[in-house]
Amino acid sequence: MNLSTPLSPVTRIMTISTLVAAAALALGYGLNQQFVGSLIFIALGLLWLVGQRYAQTASAGLGLLGFAVGALLGTLYGVQSGWLLVGITAALVAWDLHHFIQHLRINEQRAPDTENSAATATDTETDADTPRLDTRARLEAEARMLEREHLRRLAIVSGLGLLLGALALTVRLTLSFGVIVVLGVVAIFALSRLIRYLRQESD
């Protein structure tokens, strides 16, 4: 069974997100007169697209990491934060869809090639007498349903993330050094808790 045709909307959205991420960061750096940075992000975006084309799982992680580091450096170089926020959100969407497509590809490999099996079925009397199960239709329906649900959830999450990010960029709070230290300690504590949780889960 070939699931690639019905998956094409997801693939399209992933490609568009990658291009948007690269374009947003390149534009942000470009508007800040840092053309080397623009070139780097265009190259990074293209490399990620190649990775997506050849189903390289690692390319998704590296792509998101590259764009996140780029966005972080952008704040240091004074790149306009709106571009950075759009870039990192689009990169997150592309990263998620890259993994989602990989996940569905595993199912695609599991799925039977019912057309071929139906062709061989006529060779034997037993198979010819047996009613064929409509597995292809069932799997495709399930894949479509999961795809819809995933895109819906992703759209809400990325929209909300973008909104909250924009809100965080506009609202200014002045924190004292003590509060920053406390927040840092809380962050480290939370990180250690997370790692402990993940280790428990993996056991």
Binding site: D96, T126, L160, L164, L169
Partner: protein, 433 residues
Amino acid sequence: MRRLLFLSLLVYGLIIAGLVMVSGNAVALAMPLVVYLAAAFVFSPEKPRLVITRTLSANIVHHGAPATVTVTVHNQGTKLEEVLIEDAVPQGLTVTDGEPWTQTSLPPGGKTEFSYVVEGKRGNYPFRYLRATVNEHLGLFRQQGWLEVGANLMVLPELLRLEHLDIRPLRTRGYAGPIPSRLAGSGTDFFGVREYQLGDPLRWINWRASARHQHALFTNEFEMERIADVGLILDARQNNNVVVGNDSLFEHAISATAGLAEAFINDGNRVGMLVYGRGLEMTYPGYGKVQRERIMQALAHARTGDSLVFESLDYLPVRFFPAKSQIVLVSPLRKEDLSILTRLRARGYQVLVVSPDPVTFEAQKYAPLSEADASVQLALRITRVERELMLRRLRRVGIQVINWQVDQPFANVMRTALVRPVMPTNRIVRIER
């Protein structure tokens, strides 16, 4: 899990970097990632409460027949956004249609069902576990567990169908059947002549014999036809088995035994079976369809095995078979078996040996080599001669031996070998002078 760790580290990296750089913008950049993580956490799946049933279209199927497995999943817990149910198909079964898994979304109280078709070789296939994997739509948090849902599929051996088999055991049972009983009574075959007794039907009077005597009448007698006790012995000794590629001589022996059992039971005989190899696996003698199923199931389970005790046929439990009954041994045979078979014959058993030919079977393995290699040709020839001599010695003691080359149709071989000898007719030979 790796994705969750990666994303968490990225979020913390951005936040800590923002704190170090004292930059609110850097912290704000982490916001989409934080929302993504938070959404995944909020919708992370609870431990699923699933009630799964697995039903088979048939628990017992014949060789080559498909069985449809249907798995029904009921969700008795909270909503499962993405649930993957995978059935662990027992090793040896092949999925010929459908898929043994489904991935779907299940609301509380929801139900899903999937089916697939399996086929397999002879044997017993216990289905036990299903794996359920549940995650939220973003795929960061996951719960996985194995659920035990038992079912059993038995694939009966391939049946080589046979027509009626002519056997002549010394003793028959009291019920009417197809086997000549060597006793006078009602029947169809002429048995002898005796003096007329009151009550004999007139059409039974032998007028030709009566005409030779003035004051006596003679009546024809017919041979009674009865059923018999048949004991099948399947040789499952590992040393006697020959395996060439994926083909095993033992499997042919199983199919032959199944065919013999069915033919004897269809004739109304009382049939028992003994699988001799790993141990003694006995199916006690019985009649009819139930007995047929018992024997087929025993054959479905039969495996070759090594045992020091049962290395030779010396420990054959002879008392398992009624005295003077018909014994059918299905075995490739080896030299050491001659003595016990001779002893069985001496005790009054009518012994029939169906011997799948291991020499010809194994020769397939050397077929490409044998054409070129004279030594292989010579070795094969010597082995064939040795086997022929062994079979001749068995025939000499009154044991019927059928040397079955497994590439030949078993029914044809049996029909040729067990054809009832035709009695010579009285023919007048005129000599022309």
